[in-house]
C-alpha cells in the first residue's frame, strides 16, 4: 500500500502516538482488503454507527476518550445512529429500569461526549441521515467513512457516493485521519455488478422482502436489478427513494451497493456496461418471494396470540412514508368503523423528520389513530432481554433478522392494526 509522505510521517508518530495508531489501524485494515492507497474523505459530514450508551461498550467509550484527550478528533461534524430509548415508546416499569440503569446507563454521558466530538446537532440521531430534513446528504462520487450498513447502502446505490461496508469504529478512525483505504466499493472495478437479478413479479414487490431475498442470494456481491421499471419508473422521486431506502436496509446485512436498471445514478449512466462478464443470474418471481417469506422462523413462544406491539420504521420513516401511512391507516380504520389502531403501534423517524411532520396537518391525524411517533431505534429497544419475549410485529426485515419480531408485508400489517387479528 502506497502512502504519501504526510501519511508515512503520521504513521511514524509526527502527530503523536495516538494519531500514529489511528493511521496504523487504517493501514492494517486497508492492507487486509488489498487497498492500494489511502484517499481523502471528501464528504462534508460523517455518520457514526455507535449511538448507544451500552454499559458493556465501556472499552469503546474509553477508546473514544483516548482519542479525544489526544486531540485526535473527527475532521468532520457527524450524524449518528438513533437513540436507544424514548419515554414515548410503551414499556413497563421493569423494562424501563433495565433500559436506564442496566443497559444504557452510559447514555447521558455518551451523548455529551458525542456533542463534544462534533455531533451535527441534537436532532442528528437517525439511521436515515441522508434525508433532506437531517441534511447529511453526500454528493455523487464523494468518499465516505461511514459504517451504518443501511446508510452505506443508500449512499452508494441511490446517491452514487463511495463507501465500503465498514465496521463500527472504523468509521471514526477514517474521520479522524481524514483518509480511508481505497479498495472494494471505492474503486470503479469494485462497483461492477457480478449478479443480474431479474424481477418478474406480478405486482410491486414488498421492498424489504425483495431486499432480503437478494441479500440471501448474492451475499456480499453487487447486484444489477432489472425488471423494476414498471414498478418504480425511471426517476428517483421521494416515494422511490423511500422504497430504495427500505429495500437497501433489508439487504444491508451483506449488500452495500446495488444498481437498479434505468434508475440509480450509475445504472442510468453506464447501463449494462456495469455488468461483469459471466455474471450470475437470479430470477425473482412471486413464488420465490413467498418462499423467502416462509423461510423466516417465528420466534414467538405463543405463535397465535395477539401481538403486544408493532414497529414501523426500521430504517426510520421518511416524510412521504409518514404521510402515506397516515392515509392508509385512516382508510383502513374507516373501513372497520374504528378510530384507533387495535395494537399498540410505534412509528419511528428521525427527530428532524418528526419535527417537520409535526408542523403538517397529518401529525394530528396520525395521533388520532393512536399511533405513537418516536425517534427510537427499534433494534435497540428489542435488545432489552425483557422485550425479547414480547410479540412484536413489523414490516422490517432488518428488525426481524436481529430480534424476535415477526415480519408481515405492509398490507397484512395494516389489516392487523385495523382489525386486531393476527394474520396466519
Amino acid at each position: 500500500m502506497r502512502l504519501t509522505r504526510e501519511q508515512r510521517q503520521i504513521l511514524n508518530g509526527s502527530k503523536g502516538e495516538v494519531m500514529a495508531k489511528v493511521m496504523k489501524t487504517l493501514v492494517m485494515y486497508g492492507h487486509t482488503f488489498g487497498a492500494d492507497r489511502l484517499v481523502p474523505v471528501s464528504s462534508e459530514y460523517n455518520h457514526l454507527l455507535t449511538s448507544f450508551g451500552l454499559k458493556m461498550m465501556t472499552p469503546i467509550f474509553e477508546l473514544m476518550e483516548k482519542l479525544a484527550e489526544a486531540g485526535a478528533l473527527s475532521t468532520q461534524a457527524f450524524s449518528v445512529n438513533p437513540r436507544p430509548m424514548d419515554k414515548a415508546v410503551p414499556a413497563n416499569l421493569l423494562q424501563r429500569l433495565v433500559f436506564k440503569y442496566l443497559m444504557y446507563s452510559e447514555q447521558e454521558n455518551y451523548e455529551k461526549r458525542l456533542t463534544e466530538l462534533g455531533l451535527l446537532n441534537d436532532k442528528a440521531y437517525t439511521c436515515t441521515c441522508y434525508l433532506d430534513q437531517v441534511g447529511n446528504l453526500p454528493q455523487r462520487g464523494e468518499i465516505l467513512s461511514w459504517a451504518e450498513p443501511s446508510a452505506v447502502s443508500y449512499a452508494n446505490s441511490v446517491l452514487g457516493a463511495r463507501c465500503n461496508r465498514n465496521s463500527g469504529m472504523m468509521d471514526l478512525m477514517g474521520a479522524v485521519a481524514g483518509f480511508v483505504p481505497r479498495f472494494g466499493l471505492l474503486t470503479d472495478e469494485g462497483r461492477m455488478a457480478n449478479w443480474i437479478v431479474k424481477v418478474r413479479t406480478t405486482e410491486q414487490p414488498e421492498a424489504q422482502l425483495l431486499g432480503a431475498a437478494i441479500a440471501m442470494r448474492v451475499k456480499e456481491e453487487v447486484p444489477y436489478i432489472a425488471g423494476m421499471k414498471r414498478w418504480l419508473g425511471t426517476e428517483l422521486t421521494e416515494a422511490v427513494r423511500s422504497y430504495l431506502k427500505d429495500f437497501g436496509a433489508a439487504a444491508d446485512s451483506s449488500v452495500a451497493l446495488y444498481h437498479v436498471e434505468e434508475l440509480t445514478p450509475e445504472a442510468k449512466d453506464f447501463g449494462a456496461d456495469l455488468i461483469k462478464e459471466n455474471c450470475k443470474v437470479y430470477v425473482i418471481d412471486d413464488k420465490e418471494l413467498e418462499r423467502v417469506r416462509r423461510s423466516y422462523p417465528v420466534l414467538w413462544r405463543r405463535k397465535n396470540r395477539k401481538p403486544n406491539l408493532c414497529f414501523v420504521g426500521c430504517p426510520h420513516l421518511s416524510m412521504q412514508q409518514l404521510k402515506q401511512w397516515t392515509l392508509r391507516l385512516e382508510c383502513g380504520l374507516q373501513e372497520e368503523r374504528r378510530k384507533r389502531v387495535r395494537i399498540p403501534t410505534v412509528f419511528t423517524a428521525a427527530p428532524a423528520v418528526i419535527e417537520e411532520f409535526s408542523r403538517t396537518e397529518y401529525a394530528k391525524r396520525l395521533k388520532d389513530t393512536g399511533v405513537i411517533l418516536s425517534y427510537v431505534c427499534p433494534l435497540m429497544y428489542m435488545n432489552n432481554p425483557l422485550c425479547g419475549s414480547l410479540r412484536v410485529i413489523t414490516n422490517s426485515n432488518k428488525l426481524r433478522g436481529y430480534s424476535t419480531a415477526r415480519y408481515y408485508p405492509e398490507e397484512e400489517l395494516l389489516d392487523m392494526l385495523t382489525k386486531g387479528e393476527i394474520e396466519e
Binding site: K21, K24, T25, M28, Y29, T32, F33, L49, T50, L54, M56, M57, T58, P59, I60, E62, L63, K66, M103, A147, E148, P149, N164, R165, N166, S167, G168, M169, M170, E220, S253, S254, N383, P385, Y402
Partner: protein, 147 residues
C-alpha cells in the same frame, strides 16, 4: 496431525483447544449476550448457530468459515478482547470480512497485553479436518498445526 497455511491478519502464536463452527458466525448474536451479562466464558448466544450455541468461546481456537452480520460485531470483538474474554485466536477458512477484520485490528493496535491472533484463507480442507477438542497451534507466518 496436519498443517494448514493461511494469511496473517493480526500476528501472534498460541496453542488452544479448537471450537468449530461449520456455519458462518454472526458476531453480534454470538458475542452480544455474553458481554451484556458479564459472562466470563463468553458463551455463544446465537440460537441459529447449532455448533456454537451455549458453548464457551473464551480461550478457544475459534475455527469458522467467516463472520457475518451487523457492523457492530466489530465492537463486540473489541470489547471481548478488552475485557480479556476473547477466543484464543480466530481461524477462518475463507477470507475475513470487514466486521471481523475491523474488530481484530482495533484490538491488536489499541489494546496492550491482549492477544487474539487472526488468520484467514485457511481453505475448506482446514474446516473439514478440524474438530471440537483438537489441539490447534499457531506456529507463526500463518501456519496452523491441528492435532
Amino acid at each position: 496431525m496436519k498443517r494448514f497455511r493461511g494469511r496473517v491478519i493480526t500476528p501472534g502464536t498460541v496453542k488452544a483447544t479448537a471450537l468449530v463452527s461449520r456455519d458462518e458466525v454472526d458476531t453480534l448474536a454470538s458475542f452480544g449476550r455474553a458481554l451484556r451479562v458479564g459472562d466470563k466464558g463468553l458463551t455463544c448466544g446465537d440460537r441459529n448457530n447449532e455448533d456454537l450455541f451455549g458453548k464457551a468461546m473464551a480461550g478457544k481456537a475459534l475455527c469458522l468459515p467467516r463472520t457475518v452480520g451487523s457492523a457492530t460485531g466489530s465492537l463486540m470483538l473489541y470489547c471481548a478482547c478488552a475485557t480479556n474474554r476473547q477466543p484464543a485466536c480466530l481461524l477462518f477458512s475463507q477470507s475475513i470480512d470487514t466486521v471481523a477484520a475491523g474488530g481484530s485490528i482495533l484490538a491488536a493496535v489499541w489494546l496492550e497485553n491482549t492477544q487474539m491472533p487472526v488468520i484467514d484463507n485457511l481453505g475448506a480442507a482446514f474446516l473439514r479436518y478440524v474438530e471440537d477438542g483438537m489441539t490447534v497451534t499457531l506456529e507463526g507466518d500463518g501456519i496452523v498445526r491441528v492435532e
